[in-house]
Symmetry: C2
């Protein structure tokens, strides 16, 4: 047995979870000290008001006016985001109820809704009836879904809370602004990872009161938690992704290209919708997404463990090993965060990127030690966990190539960007292949699930860094809209730019872990469904494989077209306002922001349904009509094809974005030869950037969810498919 006893495990996990939540609240408290009501005291507290700082920085603005404006804009953004999320949750709520019923009926029907216990599949003895497992699966599905919704919503609230505060702090210097944005990101990171852990832990313990020694049934029903979390993430990502890009593309096409006004200019009617989009897409969507990944990889590891020796021997500590790793991760991230917020101080913009990179390095280094210790404590000695390396990032030199290609127009820019995106899949895929092989060799599918969990264990830090980007971006937007000095904007831009590289690494982690998670879920599904071998040479499997490989294209087609149509509507509305509202271009009249917000909201709600249905229905239809073999093929095909499109879409979009920024920044002789803003070359770069928007922020990130969600859904429904699946092949 393990060194760490059962009691130790029962104490360690909730304590770590609670510590994480308390830390998140403490960070939030510090951020809240920045007041957005005029005349209040500044964050420092000891110095009386922030007037002192402002004089040092020679801002020379009417503080009261600026603060009032910032507060107004913040309220507008926050209201827009809340109203969108509530509208979305209404639809998603209906879906949840219907899907919960589907889970209950499908899984309950396996033994004809019998209330009698049945022989276990793997261990000896009697297990609980399928009907009750269906009930508990449904309950854990709803729990996962609600936790995911709450995570996304809280993330959005924190982000909108932090935006204006970051703007105001930027007046005092880049260091202050950095800490505010980073702390706010940390609130979200710790809240999500800790609450995910605590809810999962409580659910396991509550379910255990019913299941007792039937761990097979217990952890089978727990998989519903992953499905719930992941399906909400899908809607969050797709809906939020369409929202944000419709607003962004629409605002840019008219504002920057046609009217030649700067980004985030308050005269642009779509500007509030754009800022709302950042919060609902990048923040709420990402929060749900990472929570989903975390829930799924935990469930995959747990379900594999439950039917392996840990589960059969009823070794609770070893069984909880995935949760213990996450617990250690929270403590590690807590220490890491202190390095950014308390141990060091940022004095210049150039120090930001190193500080963020240091976060990644410190958390990885500490986590490696932490995992070694917890493995020694909780597992038999020869157990080790593979810690996955960093994804290849889009480096600087190819971006120059892409920027150069703008000289000959948008077409060559697009061709080079697409080529770069395609090329960027090579190294990550080799890295994923190596880690799959190594972790599988160590501990089969459990090794793969734990590799994924290892990548996600420092999620709190990762999320803090990820969330920090859009917060800074929005802070810049608020500064622009509130008419603050361009120096404020420069500072928030520096924060945003420094976050881009680390955000790209984070995206790589998300994709890499998604690939590992869905492979682990796939493995768990196959063993649960009683499939011995998934032979590519069998036509049933092969047709699944080729159709599965097609699904990411179908899905991307839907989401990209949705963004395109919604952006067209937005463009028309923005043009209409510029043409019909007198004095709008001169800045004497206010645009009608609300109509733009409504267009994004309506479009994304309407358009998220077909891609959502595609992902949610495919496993059900394939499993029921064609059976588990074809479904295995579909899962494998979607996985190997989806990963490529996700990586290339993200990097293509990123390359165009960076090429545009490279030209705009004009930091080198070469960059200046391509600029300035408004030149033909820059226009071509803007076109590329616009094309990249739906690729990198809507299709790409949603594909992660597609591959994971189909796998976890198949796992949840595996007993049903094993019993009733393959109707079509049986009758023809």
């Amino acid at each position: 047995m393990a060194i760490l006893g059962e009691l130790g495990t029962e104490i360690l996990i909730p304590v770590c979870g609670v510590v994480g939540i308390v830390f998140a609240i403490a960070q939030w408290f510090i951020v809240s000290k920045v007041k957005v009501t005029p005349g209040a005291a500044a964050a420092g507290g000891s110095k009386n008001g922030y007037g002192d700082y402002l004089i040092e920085e020679e801002e020379g603005l009417n503080d009261h006016n600026v603060v009032v404006k910032c507060a107004e804009i913040q309220t507008a953004i926050s209201e827009g985001a809340t109203s969108f999320l509530f509208t979305m949750y209404q639809y998603v709520g209906m879906f949840m109820v219907v899907f919960a019923a589907v889970i209950f009926v499908f899984l309950g029907s396996i033994e004809g809704f019998s209330t009698k216990g049945q022989p276990c599949t793997y261990s000896t003895g009697t297990c609980k009836p399928a009907l009750y497992t269906a009930l508990f699966s449904t309950a854990s599905f709803l729990l996962g879904a609600i936790t995911s919704l709450v995570s996304g919503f809280l993330g959005m609230k924190i982000a909108t809370y932090a935006n204006a505060r970051t703007t105001l702090e930027a007046r005092k210097g880049v260091g202050k602004a950095f800490i505010t944005a980073f702390r706010s990101g940390a609130v979200m990171g710790f809240l999500l990872s800790s609450s995910g852990l605590v809810v999962l832990y409580i659910t396991i313990n509550v379910f255990k009161m019913y299941y007792g020694d039937d761990w097979e049934g217990l952890f089978e029903s727990i998989t519903g938690y992953g499905l719930g979390g992941s399906s909400m993430a899908l809607f969050g990502r797709v809906g939020g992704g369409i929202y944000t890009k419709a607003a962004d593309v629409g605002a840019d096409l008219v504002g920057k290209v046609e009217r030649n006004i700067p980004e985030d200019d308050p005269r642009n009617p779509a500007v509030i919708a754009d800022n709302v989009g950042d919060n609902v897409g990048d923040i709420a969507g990402m929060g749900s997404d990472l929570f989903g990944s975390y829930a799924e990889s935990s469930c995959a590891a747990l379900v594999v463990a439950s039917i392996s020796s840990f589960g059969i021997n009823h070794d609770f500590t070893a069984m909880c090993y995935p949760l213990l790793v996450s617990s250690v991760g929270i403590i590690v991230c807590l220490l890491t965060t202190l390095f950014a917020t308390d141990f060091f101080e940022i004095k210049a913009a150039s120090e930001i990127e190193p500080a963020l990179k240091k976060q990644l390095i410190i958390s990885t280094a500490l986590m490696t030690i932490g995992v070694a210790v917890i493995s020694w404590l909780a597992l038999p000695a020869k157990f080790t966990i593979f810690n996955f390396g960093a994804q290849k990032d889009v480096s600087n030199c190819p971006v120059q190539d892409v920027a150069d290609s703008c000289r000959t127009g948008a077409a060559t820019n697009v061709i080079f960007g697409l080529a770069l995106g395609y090329k960027s899949v090579i190294i990550p895929i080799f890295a994923i292949a190596v880690s799959i092989y190594v972790s599988f060799s160590i501990a089969a599918m459990y090794g793969i699930a734990m590799a994924a969990l290892g990548m996600l264990s420092t999620m709190a830090t990762g999320l803090a860094i990820d969330a920090y980007g859009p917060i800074s971006d929005n802070a810049g937007g608020i500064a622009e809209m509130a008419g603050m000095s361009h120096r404020i904007r420069e500072r928030t831009d520096a924060l945003d730019a420094a976050g881009n590289t680390t955000a790209a690494i984070g995206k790589g982690f998300a994709i890499g872990s998604a690939a590992l998670v869905s492979l682990a879920l796939f493995g768990a599904f196959v063993s649960r469904a009683g499939v011995k071998v998934v032979d590519v040479l069998s036509p049933k499997v092969f047709i699944g494989l080729i159709v599965g490989a097609m699904l990411p294209y179908w899905f991307s087609a839907m989401t990209m077209k949705s963004v395109g149509s919604a952006a067209l509507k937005m463009v028309e509305e923005v043009r209409r306002q510029f043409n019909t509202i007198p004095g709008l271009m001169e800045g004497t009249a206010k645009p009608d922001y609300a109509t733009c917000v409504k267009i994004s909201t309506d479009a994304s709600i309407k358009e998220m349904i077909p891609p959502g249905a595609l992902v949610m229905l495919t496993p059900l239809i394939v499993g029921t009509l064609f059976g588990v073999e074809t479904l295995s093929g579909v899962l494998a095909g979607a996985l190997v094809s989806g990963v490529q499109i996700a990586i290339s879409a993200s990097n293509t979009g990123g390359a165009w974005d960076n090429a545009k920024k490279y030209i705009e920044a004009g930091n080198s002789e070469h960059a200046r030869s391509l600029g300035p803003k408004g030149s033909d070359c820059h226009k071509a770069a803007v076109i590329g950037d616009t094309i990249g928007d739906p690729l990198k922020d809507t299709s790409g990130p949603s594909l992660n969810i597609l591959i994971k969600l189909m796998a976890v859904e198949s796992l949840v429904f595996a007993p049903f498919f094993a019993t009733y699946g393959g109707v079509l092949f049986r009758y023809i």
Copy 2:
């Protein structure tokens, strides 16, 4: 035994092959009657000279001058194309020699270069030594390669021969031009399909003199023919594809976008290079490609048959069933061609497209009967062949969507086009999946190979239609360059446009058959390498699967970037000439065509090596280092992922092309609202079209070859991998 005796088979196949070759020569003879020397007699012959017709058509041009100009341009194009192909063949020749040596050494080493016979793998008795099979494989590789090169070269010669003749005939009316272009296409179609059949047939018979009853070794060595044909096709497609698109994109970017001069304007220095590109890329590349497909599907069917009952019972007629199907195909296509050239006459441009569609319908209908008859004659009664349906084409309504999206600029156009391309994979993939399942259920892997061969059996007609397009396109270019009346250009444009729809169907056939062929080759490889099961759940297979799915992206990245870089060079040269040659824009000075031709040639030769090496080396490296299981994964991954990219790349490019043409044609109220030429909307459409060029004409078609070639190469080297493969896994 079959109704058709061995003697009947031995007579039927060569007779059909010779009939096809004679028919091709006859068509060539008819085309050659159109004289490109001034003052000679016209095609009709009975009327004295074509002057009569010209008066009827009120051309009012100086005939002699036009004919001389056409002849000059034709010579320039023909010389450029010949010189490019010869340069390419020098490099390819070196590759052939090296690779032939590799085949010999690898395969010869299996039994330690022993000259003693060995026990057979599948049948009882002694088979020929591996050393001699290595020798014969090498020989058939070289034969396949040479046949492919000759096919491509002849195709190019015929096309350049036909271009100017089509232009001149267009003066007499659209019907005359159509027949000339179509006959020329038919020359290529029949020459290729007949010579492929005859060479393969002779090779089998010659090899049989050595192998005698050892059909296992005989047909194993024959697979080299497929590998040879296919590897040349790769270089032809990639090299030609880069050439043609570098010239095309370069010519368009400066000519159409910057200088606002029409397509094919003689003032554009890249115009000759562009026309040369059409001939080496679309014609020679496609000729090699389809020959490769034909050779591979025949080899796949033969090798599967050789180790099934046909081969073991030494039933020569049944064994030759794939060749018999091709023989029937030649006769069917011959009859079909007469419908286009002799039974009916085209009188108006609107009749062309129906006539081409009729070709597809007649050939499919006749072939269905032909296959039924030959199956009845050559096979046991219960054998049937599945005839694959047509691919989904890009229809008109989505093109309007894409055209509409140009209103808001190039970015939305690109987003919509990409989405449309992604969407276009759905129906073809379902169609492929269904045909795989059905044909596998009927006759396992042999069924799949025969389904592919069935699709390719009417190749002569398909090629005629495919080749007809670029010939008409070039004819239009010559008309423009020779300064002929715009009415001539309108007629050739009508020919070209009518060919686009049927060409899209042809492309769909090429991709669909490639998927089937490579699956059949994959099946043959697996059985040859002694792999019992390709289990996705085995990490060795899975890492192969995910890396294999990545290869098409890597390959596309290389080819697209090559086109981009070459196009940049071309743009710079064209700009330089416009800026430095006085009187070029005014038409008083001649541009330096030769430098542009040289840029395309050098770029494509240099740039075709890395993608070629990627495809050729991957199976060797994976098979040797990781073994047959991982290689199986790579093949399956590349197949399921490559098919999607090939389809979406072709259709995305096609949609942009059609959207641009839709706006330019201005045939409806809606289309006119988007135009005219030179409007912002049209400019956005041109950008989309330019991006689509490398997608639809370089990456897309090359991917077909990638998936087939890796499979056939694995098949050829299967005995080596089975003996020595997996070095890396053995030592770690």
